[in-house]
């Protein structure tokens, strides 16, 4: 079956972003209009005079996709047309520069489904820190160094911010769980009003992992509980993806160049413990483990 994002786009070999887009569009179907901010998506899918998009698509600026989508939805409302309106955007444009427009879109209650593919840094400009970058991550603006373990700050909790706006459907998802992701997109469409889905989307260039392991890295994020999969419906936690075997965070970290320093620097082990505590806290807060499940030791 022909994908709604055509091949021939210029995304890196092994990039998870086109897979995320196709999963979203598979679920949403062709009756969908997409707005996308500036970022890897725009640059890799729409080099004039070509476009990979087989649905109507618009790019305006880096920080305004939510507002652009608001306007599209308002126009469709006015004309009595019934199309899905989606934003598909990176974490830089979502958690940082586009926050004002997103807050406004949520607040006005537009029927816009906002999907953030979260690769945890500004990849389009060369792996600079975003407020979605996890702690202890080395980026080009928070590099590890003699006196630095990389990004000093926790990840901004954007799903919680969406919930605080009374967005009726808020979820996290992962490229490694395609059935779950497609189900969540369909559920978002079924609930009127804004929705926010943040998808963990590994970046082969920025995260520096072995070719072919894109999906495995995403799966490890979930299995270590560093990336909990959950849904909020009308402000209530409505579901989580349980983990059968919780892996230690080392399994996830050591597979990625952006955490290499933690295994080489003095004191890195303490930082790994900090990250393990974050994972454990996620497991507790969202109830990710089955009763009696074991935490696996490193490697197994």
């Amino acid at each position: 079956m022909e994908k709604l994002l055509a091949p021939g786009h210029r995304a890196c070999a092994g990039c998870s972003m086109p897979t995320v887009i196709n999963l979203v569009l598979d679920a949403a179907g062709p009756n969908t209009i997409v707005a996308t901010p500036t970022g890897c998506i725009e640059v890799t899918t729409t080099p004039y005079p070509e476009s990979a998009w087989r649905v109507p698509w618009i790019h305006s600026l880096f920080e305004n996709a939510a507002a652009v989508a608001s306007g599209i939805e308002a126009a469709l409302n006015h004309f009595g047309k019934n199309h899905n309106v989606f934003v598909i955007a990176g974490d830089g444009s979502t958690l940082d520069i586009g926050m004002g427009c997103i807050s406004g879109m949520f607040d006005r209650g537009h029927n816009v489904k906002y999907v953030c593919y979260d690769n945890e840094a500004y990849m389009n400009t060369g792996v600079q820190r975003s407020s979605s970058t996890p702690p202890c991550t080395s980026t080009t603006t928070t590099p590890s160094g003699k006196v630095s373990f990389g990004n000093p700050r926790p990840k901004k909790d954007m799903p919680a911010i969406a919930v605080a706006h009374r967005v009726p459907y808020v979820a996290t998802a992962s490229v490694a769980y395609p059935v779950d992701l497609r189900r969540k997109v369909k559920r978002a469409i079924s609930i009127p009003g804004p929705a926010y889905i943040q998808v963990n989307a590994p970046c082969i260039t920025g995260w520096s992992f072995e070719a072919g392991t894109t999906v495995e890295i995403a799966r490890l994020a979930v299995e270590t509980c560093l990336w909990p999969l959950y849904e909020y419906v009308n402000g209530e936690l409505a579901g989580v993806k349980k983990i059968h075997v919780k892996r230690p965070v080392e399994d996830y970290l050591k597979a990625q160049g952006r955490y290499r320093h933690l295994f080489r620097m003095k004191g890195g082990d303490e930082m790994i413990r900090v990250l393990q505590r974050l994972a454990d806290e996620n497991a507790r807060k969202f109830g990710l483990l089955y009763e009696g499940d074991v935490t696996c030791t490193s490697g197994e």
Binding site: P18, S51, A52, V215, E216
Partner: protein, 85 residues
Amino acid sequence: MKITVAALTEPGSTIVNKTGAWRTFVPVVNHKRCIKCSLCEIYCPEGCIHQIDGLFVPDLDYCKGCGVCAHECPRKAIDMVLEEK
């Protein structure tokens, strides 16, 4: 091609860009091992693995050789092989 007002672009027109040229390794599918789980098709970033006559086949015009399909195949039915060009 004449330029279009406001750079309006036709849908799916990147197909003129054959990204297969990017490839170093090429996926070779052992169809006998394939259980038709379709995970390779789902995960392929190029969306270029198609089921043809029941068999999952990568479109080498576009396959960038990323190896995700091979890595994710639960039956290890896909090998990444250095391509001779």
